[in-house]
């Protein structure tokens, strides 16, 4: 995320003068110095990330903050987060076509491109989390079809391929090579797949009876709603950035429409959160620990950033006076940060409450903060990533940025003539 916005932020400085002309030129290869810089920066960060990942593998994962009692960390957090980001874009672009309603102007292809980039990042996060990535082939040879992780791998893979195909189909459609009907069918499939990706990712967590925080039927729909929030927010940010640098022009009405939609999604997501909190907390049993951990415990900062951020986002989105471009971007960023906080709560929260509330000997592999002793290991957040993990994470995010920017550079992602003509009316 960071890199995409920074790349986008860097762009205006260089390209502001000739925004108008370039914006109207729908060429296969879009040139700007800022874009090149962005690509180079992302490339370097990606390579740095790969180098750090190599360090993690050749050294060992003891260099991460993960341990036996908190065995997943930043990577899986970002995996969840990027799956969410990915689906948003695809849904935004496919819903209007699938249901034959008026869309959001010419942002469809950009949205799909962002989905592709985010999906690649999501897969990347699973890969860097693996202890034995060279055994990845086993997934295809020894597939245990019963495993939610296997489902996710299948769905994510399908999703990536489908996204690419969908993007191609849209471009082909613009050139009249694909019929309206075919595109519509494809849109329906893409939409279903996006929903599936979310549900399945949710099930990786939600089907695990062993974790109080995760084990809820609501998790599937909730992941979908969260994905819609951050996906829409991401599309808004990307589109605003691309507008700014003149890559595309878009009627403000579409942005407002997107913002309203974002507001609605945020409300649904908060509603789910409220439902979940109530269900967890009401019986006063173990779930109450979850509630107190979130509201006033170790994860409270993330909880309140999410809740307040999303609430502010909704207010901005629903108040016409506030729907200025800068504020809409801020609202979108708040929504994205909010959902990231949600992901952190979910992941760390799963480990923060031990199932077996007994104490034993501690070793450097038991728990992140093992040296502090049992009580203190859980006093703060049970898990916190190491610099290496942040580095690898940046690398994977940069890879997503790289893919996206390369798409911008080499693919005709600006609105097609038809759409543009429509939007000009």
């Amino acid at each position: 995320m960071t890199d995409m916005t920074s790349a986008a932020a860097a762009a205006p400085i260089n390209v502001s003068q000739n925004t108008e002309q370039q914006g109207k030129k729908a060429s296969a290869s879009w040139k700007s110095t800022g874009l090149t810089v962005g690509i180079i920066v992302c490339g370097i960060l990606t390579i740095a990330g790969i180098a750090l990942w190599a360090m993690q593998l050749s050294g060992s994962m003891i260099q991460t903050g993960m341990r036996n009692l908190d065995s997943w960390g930043l990577y899986i957090t970002f995996f969840m987060f990027f799956v969410g980001l990915s689906a948003g874009g695809l849904i935004i672009s496919s819903v209007p076509k699938a249901f034959g309603i008026k869309g959001f102007g010419g942002i469809s292809k950009v949205a799909i491109m962002s989905s592709i980039a985010c999906t690649i990042a999501a897969i990347g996060f699973v890969v860097v989390d693996l202890g034995q990535p060279t055994r990845i082939w086993e997934l295809f040879v020894f597939s245990n079809i019963g495993s939610p992780l296997m489902w996710d791998i299948i769905v994510l893979g399908t999703y990536l391929i489908l996204s690419c195909f969908y993007l191609w189909a849209q471009m082909a459609h613009e050139r009249g090579r694909v019929s309206d009907k075919a595109l519509r069918v494809l849109s329906v499939i893409a939409l279903l797949c996006a929903v599936m990706v979310h549900s399945v990712t949710a099930w990786i967590f939600g089907l695990q009876q062993g974790r109080e925080m995760w084990h809820t039927a609501l998790l599937g729909p909730w992941f979908v709603s969260s994905a819609l929030v951050c996906g829409t927010a991401l599309v808004i940010c990307v589109v605003e950035a691309l507008r700014k640098v003149g890559y595309l022009s878009l009627d403000q009405a579409y942005i407002v429409k997107l913002a309203k939609l974002l507001g609605a999604f945020v409300c649904v997501d908060l509603y789910f959160f409220a439902c979940d909190l109530l269900t967890e907390g009401f019986p006063g049993a173990h779930g109450a620990d979850v509630v107190s951990m979130l509201v006033s415990g170790q994860l409270a900062p993330f909880f309140w950033i999410e809740v307040v951020g999303c609430a502010v986002c909704a207010v901005i989105c629903f108040t016409p006076k506030l729907r200025t471009n800068p504020l809409i971007v801020i609202a979108s960023l708040l929504a994205i940060v909010g959902i990231l906080c949600k992901r952190i709560q979910l992941l760390v929260g799963g480990f923060q409450l031990p199932n077996l509330d007994y104490v034993g000997a501690l070793s450097p592999q038991t728990i992140t903060n093992w040296e502090a002793g049992w009580t203190d290991a859980y006093a703060g957040m049970v898990y916190w990533p190491t610099p290496l993990e942040f580095g690898v994470m940046l690398g994977v995010v940069a890879l997503a940025g790289l893919v996206f920017l390369l798409g911008i550079k080499f693919l005709a992602l600006q609105p097609g003539d038809k759409i543009q003509a429509e939007s000009e009316k």
Binding site: A361, S363, A372, G373, T375, D376
Partner: protein, 817 residues
Amino acid sequence: MSESTVTRPGITRRSFLKATGAVAGVAAVAGGTSSLVAFADGETSASNAEETICYGVCRSNCMQSCRYAAHVVDGKLVKLTPAEYAEDLYRGSCLRGMSYMHRIYSPHRIKYPMRRVEGTERGAGEWERISWDDAIAEIAEKFTSISQEYGPKSIVFDFGTGNYGEIQGQTGIFNRLGGVIGASKPAGMNDLATGYGIDRVIGTGLMYFANEAKSVLDSSHIVVWGSNPVHSTPQNWRWMQRAKEQGTKIIVVDPVKSATAHKADVYIPIKATTDGYLALAMANYILENDLQDDEFIAARSTAPLLVRRDTGMLLHKSDYAEVAEGEENPAYVWDNATGAIALYGEATDPALEGTFEVDGVTVDTSYTLLKQQLADYSISEAQRITGVPEETILELVDVFTKGDAVSVNISFGMDHYMNGYQSCWAIAILMALTGNLGRDGAGFTGIFLNTALALNMKALWAAPGFVGMTTAFPMTMLHEVAETQQFNGEDYPIKAMVSIISNAVSNWPSQNNFLEKILPALDFYLAMDMEMNDTVRYADMVLPVASFYEHEDFRKAHNLPYIVHQSKAIDPLYEAKDDVEICGLIGRAMGFEEAFPESNTFETYANLLLSSEACEKFNITLERLREEGYIDLSVLPGKPGIVGRTKFTTESGLAQLYTEKPAPRVNYGQDVKERFAKEHLVYYQPSAEVCEESEAAQTFPIVFIQEHSRWRTHSQWFNSPILKELDPEPIYKMSPEDAQERGIESGDIVEVFNDRGHMVVKCVIDPSLPQGMSRMPKGWQREQFIEGGYQELTYPTHDEWAVAFNFYDTRVDVKKR
């Protein structure tokens, strides 16, 4: 004994083995070694590695004698598993015994002889490797020149408890060397007050007071008094747990809620060191309320024996007639039937109580004197002193008076205080008055020692040229003698010292005395060890010694009715040598060829030691030990060993209510007369420092005890890499109240101090401690502390009669760092 086998013996225990259709093929090859390949269910060969199994016995100072099968692959000891005894519940093991190879192969093992680099301080940790030849030459030169200049007594032989092998251990071969040199051997002081106190009543010497562990199966009640078998003797606890499952009630009397207390039916908290008062008040209450066991008192105690008021001695046959030396000299009783005295056993109606005039001498029965002595000890006063409520005391009275058979598990908790022997003596009196001695299920348990098999120590110790070692003073006085180079006003140079299976620097109280008074006096301090413990660190030279499994030995097992063989499982690692070899080298280099001819081997010494009448009676030979692994020494087959089953080992064969000739445990020139009159009859004496009235209590509000934990046996296993994963660092435990008063929380670093020393260490708050009590699992070495060490805190003085170390009689205060 070496044998090859495919599956461990003891198959009978579990039925599943039938189901899985296991294996057979035990091919015992006496004295030889054969290999085995593991196979199962007819499907051969789980592996290519060849494993040989031989057997041994753990010989550390937990005194429990677990037997182990040593699995050897490619000349390396890869595994120790519990090996069987005829009595299955004696098969035992623990985390220390099982992980012994982590000490053998430890990266911290001492590999070759080393000398402190010249010009460096003792303890600075700078060592140079030297050859065995140079080491032996230097040792011989130092010992010889010091002996010539200052006399052989200026060389101190310090024996520890790190190995209970009969030849390589505490009472083994180094005594032979010390004997020909004529070195000083300060009197040992570990764990001897308990036996000394109980000896007053049942005459069991210092270590022979306990019934066999399995005797508790016959107990209706087990009173665990000041001991913590769950941690310190789990192999004994196993029997107690079995007894509990059969309905035996377990009652724990302890100032802290020990691990055993948590497992018991009843826990009675008591103020530390007031146990003696509790026992005496109970005894008095029992007598006052006529609850005593009259039958036992009449038949098996010295109750009727008459005591002369003029001398305090018993009225003996010799008071009236010539009694030749060696002839029996029984005491008189008052025969109610005749109204006159009669020799014990010859009266028809001996008076248990009363005061009589015999030829102008006033005499009282022992029982009467005891009753008078106890009259001052009341239950209400006991409540005040011990903190145990009256009703609880009366419940405990019920246990002793109504219980069918009460055993008291005692060990060495109370032992470790200045008043330790009085406490144990008092409990022994309570046991005698209630008839809980000398029968199935009744008596003391703790560390059972087999009395039936006497080994020929003389043959081992008294070599040609034997002059004997001098035991002039106890260990606690060494620092004074070393500092002044005088003892009892006469010159007594102390110039060299050798620690033999001993970590004296760590395990003698008042560590600063050792470091500041003993060490500076020494021209030469020799350590022999496997690991760099405190003693080695402060020595001038260290020799690498063989581990339990790198030499042959045998152990007349503590705690079990067996004598157990240790076969040499592997060759000594690096340049390590066993004690037999080291002794021979030093002995010959010093010119004691006759005592240590080169032809003498382990076998020579083993055969000397086994050349006793008792060994002959039990047919104990080295060959048989090698072949059979262990030999049963039970006196009554199938019956647990019971102390005093037929008679007690006192002069009269009776339980003594009155001690005619009390004597200090060690005579070192102290004033024996002063207390002599007081020592006939049991009494309560407050502890020196821990009791609430002591001077120390005014300054240092917290009692500090060195808890025996499962992680170490004294200081052995202090650096076991595997155990340190579970128990990585010293932990000081204090009560929530004491911690709160000082603003201390669990995990804080605290300084524990008194006027003798200090330690800086991590603290954990432990609600099993009442306010005013604290403890720390013992065994950590100085370098493992942030600063100081726990043994700096203990005092070096002793009770003049018990002459024992008082490790727990220690008070401290604590502040947050």
